[in-house]
Each structure stands twice: as C-alpha cells, then as structure tokens.
C-alpha cells in the first residue's frame, strides 16, 4: 500500500546473553578464545565451554504504520518496545525478518543525544541538529524558532554544563521538535521537564502527527498514549499481544498491570522503610464500587469508591495496635492527599483483623492517572508494611461545573476546591 510509512515483516531481534558472542567477533573467536581456552581449562578443569543463552527481544513482529498516523507502543519493561524502535531507527540490525521505512526518519530515543557539556547552547543546537539529521541550512533557518521554543534566551552562549536540568531538557527537546522528518520514532521523551513545558511538548507532538508525518511513540504514560495516538500496539515478551484503538488497548494493559486490583509484583513493596517479618502485611489492595462491589479502575470526577485492603495472616504477630494510612499520588508521583485510620478516624487495627475498608470520595481531582500508597504502622514507632503504588486508578472524566468541558489532568491543577463566585454590592 502506498500509504504505508513503516512496515515490519516477521521482525525478530536476538541477543546472546552470557557466554561468547559467537555470531560476530570473528577476531575474538580466533584470537581471544584461542588464548583463553587453555587458561579456562587450567582454572576449571573439566568444565564445559561457555553456555550462551539466546534472548529474543523481539519475535515475529508484523506491524504497519500508515502515513500521518501516530502509533503508540506500550508494554512492560523488557517487552521489546525500545528494541523495536532501535531496529526501526536502523541503529541495530534485525536478526530475522525485515523492517521497511519510507522517507526521512528521525529517532528521538533520548533527549539531548550528543549534547556536549562544554559547548554552549548555540553550539549544541547546531551539533544536535546535525546528529538528528538536519542540514546546516535547515538548522540556520530554524535556529530562532528553536531558541524561542526552548526559552533559554540569554543563556544561549553559556556552556550547557551551567544549565539547570530544566533548561537543558527544554533546549534538547526544542531541537528535536524542529526536526522535520517523514517518520518520527520517539521513546518516552515527553517524560521530562516541568508541567508547563510538557504541555508545550504535547502540543508540538500533536502538530507533528497532524502534519501528515508518521510517528511511532513508545511510552509508559497511558494518558500520553490516549491523548496522542491513533492506534496502539501492546507488546509483551517481544511479541505483539494486541492492536487496536488507544482506549481499549490501554485499558487492557492497565487491567493486566493490575489497576483496580493487585499489583503484579508485590515484591517491589516495602523497600522504602525496610520492613520485617513481624506484624501485619498487606495481601491485596483493591478499589471497589458500591452498588455491586465490583472491581473498578476508572472513575469520574465526583464519584466515590471503597479502598479494600486484605491482610495476610500474621506469621509473627506483633501484638501491637496499629493504624493504616494511605497517600494519594498523581501520575507524576506528587503526593496529593492522605488518610489515617488513626488519629483521623480513630480506628486502630490489631492481630485479629483480616481486612480493612476505607470509603474515599467524592473525587475532586482532574482527569489523569492516580495511585494509592498504603502503609501499616504504629505512628512514630514501627512500620509494618509500606506499599507504594499499591493500587492504581484513572479519572476518566472531569467536569466539575457540568459545562460539557473535560478538564484535562496534570496540566492544570492538582484538585478542585468547591467555590462560588458573586459580585459585591
């Protein structure tokens, strides 16, 4: 089809981990191994030669990106998203299959690739532009736009090593945003900068998509994916699990990742406080909705729900009374609110308790991703369990004034304060 911008056919990429890279490194084979063999035998007599393990970072990927389409790619860490972008960027060669890309490609796998700390902002714009594939004439013609977009102003001739991290990132994104390719490959680069700048970047990204260019966009942030993408691929362990519209694929991913239910990896918790085997432990945390007590991970502004905590049977009871505590975090990790069972509610728990329930709501936060962190502790004395991101949920719609307008999350405010305006006499 002529409107296809990127296509892969049976694409696979294998890495050999551990052992020797036999596939390549002929010189290594002939020289080093020859030299190493006898040593190896001396050290481990009778040991087998190196065992190498094949790891398929990608396997049998068939994918198509249409011209002008913004394609999202989501998946857990290690699912092959970044490898896919690297193959499409021509940075690494596929082991099998084929990738076909039409037109000029720009890959933004990180912000500020090739930036040099000793060079000034001006010099880095030129260097970075060239690295991203711009010609000198192009850089010259876009130079002023880049400077303006980056808001670095009078620091233009200062070495970037003296920049704040925010300035550095703004400059780097500004250059990248002005590359004008047919196909743009982007990896997580929006996850940088302050809120105001992020909003600007998102706007720029939308322009890229609407300008007839194709974008392949990898992100962990479902709200970005939902806002920008036309179509989404879900990857898992190097293969495509699902393809479809952003809403359904993102929801599928979130339900897999455990929103509204258990986190897939409970071993992650407890790192913050260093916990012990003594005392109560959280088994599961769920968000349930009242009428039928169903699991739900999506809510609207003004809705309420129950935070349901199940406890594991205590293997070594602490025989102490303890309280539970939650923190509400937004998608940026900011702590927005908290709720103590004691002293706020004057509810304490003990050895005999097997679960707890907390009514939360009505929600007064804007659209976006949120999570609860849960802590079981004896205040100022002992922490039994601490589970960051114990449960995640999303606020899908936020229209506190029932105006028909959906207030987008993250970019505006942390929460809504009920209020009423009037005129003085």
């Amino acid at each position: 089809m002529s409107d296809i911008a990127v296509r892969t056919v049976g694409l696979g990429k294998m890495y050999r981990i551990g052992g020797e890279r036999e596939a390549y490194g002929t010189l290594r084979d002939t020289l080093v191994r020859a030299a190493k063999r006898p040593l190896e035998r001396l050290r481990h007599p009778g040991a087998a030669t190196h065992i190498s393990e094949d790891l398929w970072a990608l396997r049998d990927i068939d994918l198509e990106v249409k011209q002008g389409e913004v394609l999202g790619i989501i998946g857990r860490n290690g699912s092959g998203k970044s490898t896919l972008l690297k193959v499409l960027s021509h940075i690494t060669e596929p082991t099998e299959g084929r990738a076909e890309v039409r037109g000029r490609v720009a890959s933004l796998l990180e912000v500020g690739t090739g930036f040099h700390n000793e060079l000034t902002g001006r010099e880095n714009i030129q260097l970075n532009g060239a690295i991203l594939g711009m010609t000198r004439a192009e850089i010259r013609s876009k130079f002023d736009d880049i400077v303006e977009f980056s808001e670095i102003g009078r620091f233009l001739d200062t070495p970037v090593k003296r920049y704040s991290s925010g300035m550095y990132v703004r400059l780097a994104f500004a250059v990248a945003a002005h590359v004008d390719p047919d196909v743009m490959l982007i990896d997580e680069v929006l996850a940088v900068g302050d809120l105001e700048f992020r909003r600007k970047c998102m706007g720029k990204m939308r322009d890229v998509g609407s300008g007839g260019r194709s974008v392949v966009f990898v992100s962990h942030d479902m709200s970005h994916i939902r806002q920008l993408c036309h179509r989404v691929y879900l990857l898992d362990r190097g293969g495509v699990v699902a393809v479809g519209d952003p809403e359904s694929i993102c929801s599928m991913y979130e339900s897999r990742a455990g929103s509204g239910g258990q986190m897939p990896n409970p071993s992650l918790r407890g790192l913050a406080f260093g916990q012990h085997d003594v005392g109560p432990r959280i088994d599961t945390v769920e968000l349930r909705d009242l009428p039928d007590d169903a699991l739900r991970s999506e809510y609207e502004f003004g809705e309420s729900f129950d935070l349901v905590v199940k406890l594991s049977p205590e293997t070594q009871p602490s025989r102490k009374e303890y309280s539970a505590l939650w923190f509400l975090h937004d998608g940026l990790g900011r702590q927005l609110a908290s709720g103590w069972s004691s002293p706020m509610d004057d509810v304490v728990f003990g050895e005999a308790d097997t679960g707890m329930r907390c009514r939360v709501g009505p929600l007064s936060v804007p659209t976006g991703e949120y999570s609860f962190r849960l802590v079981l502790h004896v205040p100022h004395y002992e922490n039994f369990d601490d589970w960051p991101e114990a449960v995640r949920f999303r606020v899908r719609r936020c229209d506190p004034f029932e105006s028909g307008y959906d207030y987008p999350g993250l970019h505006s405010v942390a929460f809504f304060l009920p209020h009423k305006w009037g005129k003085t006499a």
């Binding site: 490194g25 021509h90 596929p94 082991t95 000029r104």
Partner: protein, 321 residues
C-alpha cells in the same frame, strides 16, 4: 514503470538525503514500487522504502551514504576541535607548544647527547626533527583519538543512526587543525634558520594525503577492535611509542642499513610519509620508489582491509559497545 522509481525519488531531495540506495538488493522494493507506481506519484513522502534486514558477509562500502552525512562529519570534527581547545587552559597554544617542546627535547637528547646528525649540513637538527614530528604527531594523535572514538561516542551509536565511519573519520580529521598550526610553526622555524622550502613543496599535499590515509587505515582497525576488546585502548599508547622508534622521526632514512632491515622499515608506511615530508619541505633524500611504493601498497592494503573489517563489525557496534 520500473524506471519511474528512480525519477520519483529524485523529485524529493529532502527525503532523498538520508535514504539509502537499496534497489539492488531488495526485490520487495522493486515490487512495491512497480505495483504502486501510479499512487506513489501523489505521495508527499518518498516512494521508496528503505529496507533494514540482516546482512550477511562483507557489506559494501556505501560512499554515497557517507557523502550524504558529510555535514554530520563536519559537525563532529568541529565538536572534537572545539571541545579540545575549550577544555585546555592553554587552548591553541598547546598545539604550538607540544611539537616545539618535543623538538627541543629531541634536539638536546638525540642530537647533542647521542650525536644523531641531520643528513644535510645546511639543515639544523631542530628543523630536521620538526619536519619529521609534523606528520608523526598527526598520526599519533589520530590513533589516540580514534582508537577510543567509537567507545567514547557510545551514546550516539546506541541512539541515532548514521554511517559509523563518520566517528573515526572525524577523530582523524580533527587532527588537521593541530597539523596546520604545527606546519605554520615549522615555516616560522625555517624562516628563523634562513631555510627556504624547496619547490618540491608542491608535492606536500600528496604526502599529507598519504599520512591521512595511513592514520585512517590504522584508526579503522583500532577503533573497531576497541569496541569488541577494550584492551585495545590500553595498547594504543604503547603501540604509538614503539611505532615512533621504528619510524625515521629521530634519525634520517639514509641511516637505515641496506638489506633485510630496510625491507622491514619499508613495510612501515610512516617511513615513506616522513621521508616524503622531509623531501618536499627540506629537499632531503627522496624516500625512493622503493620506500614510497611499498608504503603506498601497505596503506592501500591496510585501508581496504580496515574498511571491510569496520563495515563488517559496524552492524554490531550498537549491540556490544
């Protein structure tokens, strides 16, 4: 209809800039283009797919692609030069001091203490050794920079595509500025001693090219090897040091005894380069067809093999660096 695909892609210079020529290897492309030639005309983006797949065996040297990335080569070379002078307190003065001080030490140690003489009474040893140091320091600097260039630019290799040759090439070319400064110092030195360059100086650019080719040839091998075995970067300073002693930097080529030893010296391409510099600048013994042709042949072999080895290893750089 097949001929159309070429004309179509030329119509869009912007998109043609980075696109690789792939027609010869992929019949998919040909079928894609011919089947959709009519619709492709209206397509605002190029009508040709670039195909990425695993290549086996020896990859062809894609000079056209390298040419397309000439501006990146320029910017990376410019960066190397800029950064070097910015980080050094002495800045550009360093490029003058380094060969000058080396020359002074050489003159004291080898000429005054050990009695090594310039072969021509009219040329003082100071000028003689400086004329040898000029190409030598270019060569040594190129090896030192390019050897670690791929590893030092690992973040680029793993994040952006461009022909990897650009990296060692820019590391070699960055030495040309130092070379130019040293050259001016030498001219000043000659003027100070009242020595006029001979008319052979018109041939100097040829020897500069030979020096460049030699430096690039060795750099290709070293930089690619260093990606796979980091030991290489520890070997380079040692290699450069030994190499200087077997090159006629300190002594004139006439002093190399006839016989098998002379054959061994001829195999070192820097022998021909340094001899050529002294001939072109100071009118000393022409390195002779013997030295020059052997040097030239060795450089060609090193350069071609280096290019092939580099191109073969290039595709795994991003994975192993």
């Amino acid at each position: 209809m097949v001929s159309f695909d070429a004309s179509g892609s030329h119509g869009a210079p912007l998109h043609g800039r980075i696109r690789k020529r792939v027609g010869a290897e992929g019949n998919t492309i040909r079928s894609t283009v011919t089947n959709n030639a009519a619709t492709a005309i209206d397509s605002p983006i190029g009508d040709r797919f670039t195909v990425y797949e695993r290549k086996r065996g020896w990859a062809a040297l894609d000079l056209r692609e390298l040419w397309a990335y000439r501006e990146l080569l320029f910017f990376l070379t410019w960066r190397d030069i800029l950064v070097r002078y910015k980080q050094a307190v002495l800045g550009v003065a360093w490029a003058i001091l380094q060969p000058l001080l080396t020359m002074v030490v050489f003159t004291v140690v080898f000429n005054r203490v050990l009695g090594v003489q310039s072969p021509d009474a009219a040329i003082p040893y100071a000028v003689f050794s400086f004329a040898g140091l000029l190409p030598w320091q270019f060569f040594a600097g190129a090896l030192a920079r390019s050897g670690v260039s791929l590893v030092g630019n690992a973040n680029l290799l793993t994040k952006v595509y461009f022909p990897r040759l650009v990296i060692p090439l820019s590391a070699v070319l960055a030495g040309l500025v130092d070379f130019g400064i040293s050259f001016l110092v030498l001219l000043g030195l000659m003027a100070g001693y009242g020595i006029a360059p001979t008319w052979y100086i018109v041939f100097l650019p040829l020897f500069v090219l030979l020096a460049l080719a030699t430096a690039l040839a060795v750099s290709l091998w070293l930089s690619a090897l260093n990606v796979l075995y980091r030991d290489v970067q520890y070997v380079i300073p040692f290699l450069v040091q030994l190499w200087m002693f077997v090159s006629p930097v300190i002594y004139p080529i006439d002093q190399i005894p006839e016989g098998p030893l002379r054959v061994a010296f001829a195999l070192n391409p820097m022998t021909g380069v340094i001899g050529g510099f002294r001939w072109a600048l100071l009118g000393q013994t022409f390195p002779g067809g013997y030295y020059l042709w052997v040097s030239f042949a060795v450089v060609v072999v090193l350069l071609v093999s280096g290019l092939f080895y580099f191109k073969r290893m290039e595709r795994v750089f991003a994975d192993v660096v």
